[in-house]
């Protein structure tokens, strides 16, 4: 089984290095093909591992010793248990589809080879993240995906900065830096958490750490839980570190599908699920996670209601769904969080790839108000996106129905009725904004002709490539029973109370009703014709929402600007006046001494001899003085 583990892990790395060989040369089609095949190999290995794990239990391999220093011992070990198998399979299947898709999407891009190199490197980092058997390996993967995300958001780094009114994310390089810096802030928290674990547990191996959790003091566990969660907040873009995710949509769309919807942003959820023995011991922190997740769910959904940018709407929806996952994990239903994570990965990646098709057809136009009636031209894309939106809205029998409904049941079961109510409301908002997008872009009368657009459907193989995600978005939910049995071998099982069992039917009906209600409202408002109401669009709440609650501007005024000014002062006053002045002073003293001593160098032997005699006498006098003193 070791070979399968290594194949799954290293195939993307080989693909990445292979593509990197051609990084600077013009487009080579085989680079895309080779990396896609290697990703498929990785996917097959992951799927086989899933089968093996479900029969024989976890696989553990140790590649080599990594850090051996004093008492510290960290091996490069990989552990494939139930949770990891799920994550690996989800990551590789979405990655494979995205790789195939990118062959079509990046067709005319100058950086074709470079793109595949980054994309495969991302998958490798993600695999390290989920497969590592210790916190340090997880951290390495964590940083790796951060770097790849930075590289890929800023893939079109040559674009100029523009003002916020033109493009809310300013420019790809700006967005990339924003994402990276926000993640660094959170990573510091995570690193502190890892240090705390090492200091108190003396090891970083998951199994050894989790074994000793019950002996540890409550305060310590709370601190560890909080610091690890700060890391998760950054990677999974939870409030208040959420602004980077919407801006990350500056990257190519396959990147948004793979990294900023399906895989990387779920790393935070994965961390909480992985560290469940710690979080189960600290219910107050877990409850905070659930509350924050719930808040983010409705907070992000509200911003998605009014946005006009195709990709940003989906990005906010991702944020909102991550909130759902955290709510489930915080309430102790770890397997439900993992289930929603997997289901969400499938339909959200599908939604993003569909958005990529639309973008491609509309020549990179993202404003849905400039589209309309695309269903007549892009039949298959329409079908995929409609399907994904139905799944996202949680309509039976698609994947989102099972996962989201279970989360709502969990909230109900925990008697957290506030959380349940907000999540229930968010389900309605989700249905509304997803179908607002679908109806405005695909129905509501042709508007693109006014802008001189001639949309066309994408290449057939791209559509075929999306099929696996389409199928999974439909059928994945049907297997929630067997999924539960599989992962609860590792994760704590979650039992619904008798009362909840009794209420399940009602809950499902209520949730489905609000989702259908959302769709219906969107249908009434947008399906026939896009009516724009100036009064509403200029009203206060609408502007607050479309400006993302003014949070980016707030951050800029409160953090970025003062920090830039502080840096300016530090540069001009401290660095130039103190540090540089000291260094320059020492250098100029040496230089001036040398300059004045140059007079000695006359070239006349007589003068040299005089200096020699002078030195001799001086030394003799010194020797005499020293001798007399002692």
């Amino acid at each position: 089984m070791e070979n399968l583990v290594y194949t799954a892990l290293f195939a993307p790395l080989i693909g990445s290095l292979f593509a990197a060989l051609f990084g600077m040369s013009p487009k080579k089609q085989f680079v895309g093909v080779v990396t896609s095949i290697l990703l498929f190999v990785s996917f097959v290995s992951s799927a086989k591992l899933w089968a093996y794990v479900s029969e024989h239990g976890p696989v553990h391999v140790r590649l080599m010793d990594w850090i051996v220093a004093g008492d510290m011992y960290v091996p490069f070990g990989f552990n494939v248990d139930q949770v990891t198998a799920v994550m690996m399979t989800v990551v590789t299947i979405v990655s494979t589809v995205v790789h195939i898709y990118s062959n079509g999407y990046m067709e005319h891009d100058k950086g074709f080879n470079r793109f595949f190199s980054y994309l495969s490197a991302f998958v490798f980092s993600m695999m390290v993240l989920v497969m590592s058997d210790n916190f340090l390996g997880l951290f390495i993967g964590w940083e790796g995906v951060g770097v790849c995300s930075w590289l890929l958001i800023g893939f079109w780094y040559h674009k100029e900065d523009v003002t916020r009114d033109v493009n809310p994310s300013i420019s790809p390089s700006w967005a990339a830096n924003e994402a990276f810096i926000m993640n660094r802030i959170a990573d510091l928290g995570m690193l502190v958490g890892i240090f705390l674990i090492y200091w108190n547990f003396g090891t970083l191996q998951y199994d050894a750490v989790f074994e000793r959790v019950p002996e540890m003091g409550h305060g310590l566990l709370v601190a560890i839980g909080i610091f690890l969660f700060i890391g998760a907040m950054g990677k999974s873009a939870q409030f208040p570190l959420h602004t980077w995710l919407a801006d990350a949509m500056e990257g190519p769309t396959p990147v948004s599908a793979l990294i900023h919807a399906a895989t990387m942003v779920t790393a935070g959820v994965y961390l909480v699920i992985r560290a469940n023995p710690i979080y189960s011991e600290i219910p107050e922190v877990s409850y905070f996670i659930a509350v924050l997740g719930t808040f983010v769910a409705i907070f992000a959904a509200s911003m998605a209601l009014v946005n006009r940018d195709l990709k940003r709407i989906i990005a906010y929806s991702t944020l909102s769904q991550l909130g759902y996952m955290f709510a489930a994990a915080g309430l102790g239903a770890y397997w439900v969080a993992l289930f929603h994570l997997a289901a969400h990965a499938f339909f959200k990646a599908l939604l993003f790839l569909g958005a990529g098709n639309v973008m491609h057809a509309m020549h990179d136009e993202l404003d849905i108000f400039k589209m309309g009636d695309l269903r007549k031209i892009m039949k298959w894309t329409y079908l995929y996106m409609g399907l994904a939106s139905l799944a996202l809205a949680g309509i039976w029998p698609l994947a989102g129905f099972f996962s989201k409904d279970t989360i709502l049941e969990v909230a109900f079961n925990e008697h957290a009725y506030g959380i349940w109510f907000i999540l229930w409301l968010t389900a309605g908002l989700t249905a509304f904004y997803s179908f607002r997008l679908v109806f405005v872009a695909f129905w509501s009368g042709n508007r693109y002709e006014k802008f001189g657009m001639h949309p066309h459907e994408v290449q057939p193989y791209v559509l075929w490539g999306m099929l696996p995600l389409g199928i999974l978005a439909v059928i994945f939910g049907w297997y929630h029973e067997s999924f539960m049995h599989f992962v609860t071998k590792l994760l704590p099982a979650y039992e619904m109370s008798e009362h909840t069992h009794h209420m399940t039917g009602t809950l499902i009906t209520v949730t489905t009703l609000i989702a259908l209600g959302g769709i219906l409202v969107a249908f009434r408002l947008y399906s026939h014709k896009l009516k724009r109401n100036e009064k509403i669009e200029n009203s206060m709440p609408y502007r607050v929402l479309s400006n993302q609650y003014y949070i980016p501007i707030f951050y800029e005024r409160v953090f970025s600007k003062p920090y830039a000014e502080l840096s300016d002062i530090a540069w001009k006053e401290i660095d130039m006046q103190v540090v540089d002045a000291t260094v320059d002073g020492i250098a100029s003293i040496v230089e001036e001494t040398g300059d004045s001593a140059r007079g000695m160098q006359t070239g006349n032997l007589s003068d040299y001899l005089k200096w020699m005699a002078f030195g001799l006498v001086a030394l003799a006098i010194m020797a005499v003085i020293v001798a007399m003193k002692s």
Binding site: T602, G603, N604, L605, S606, L609, A613
Partner: protein
């Protein structure tokens, strides 16, 4: 009675004369003479102290110095002749090729 002190004073006077010669003289040949005087000042001191302590090591050293001085003069005078042939002078003020 002539004691160790007298010899050492003589040696010091000789050494000073040599040192002043090395510093003041501008002719390279004169510099050689001055160094010889300094070397022999050391020889006088060696011989005197050796006899005072009844230790032959000092006198042996004096012989070594005589031998080294002789060979030095042999080589040095050869170089001086060559230098004189090449530059036509032995005045140090005019031999300043290494001026910085």
């Amino acid at each position: 009675m002539i004691g160790l002190g007298h010899y050492l004073v003589l040696s010091a006077i000789l050494f000073s004369i040599g040192l002043v010669g090395v510093i003041r003289r501008k002719n390279l040949l004169m510099l050689f003479f001055s160094t010889e005087i300094m070397l022999n000042a050391a020889n006088v001191a060696f011989a005197a102290i050796s006899s005072y302590h009844n230790d032959l090591a000092g006198q042996m050293f004096a012989f070594f110095i005589v031998a080294v001085a002789a060979s030095e003069v042999a080589v040095g005078l050869g170089l001086l002749i060559l230098l004189y042939k090449k530059r036509g002078t032995l005045d140090l003020d005019k031999l300043t090729l290494l001026k910085g």
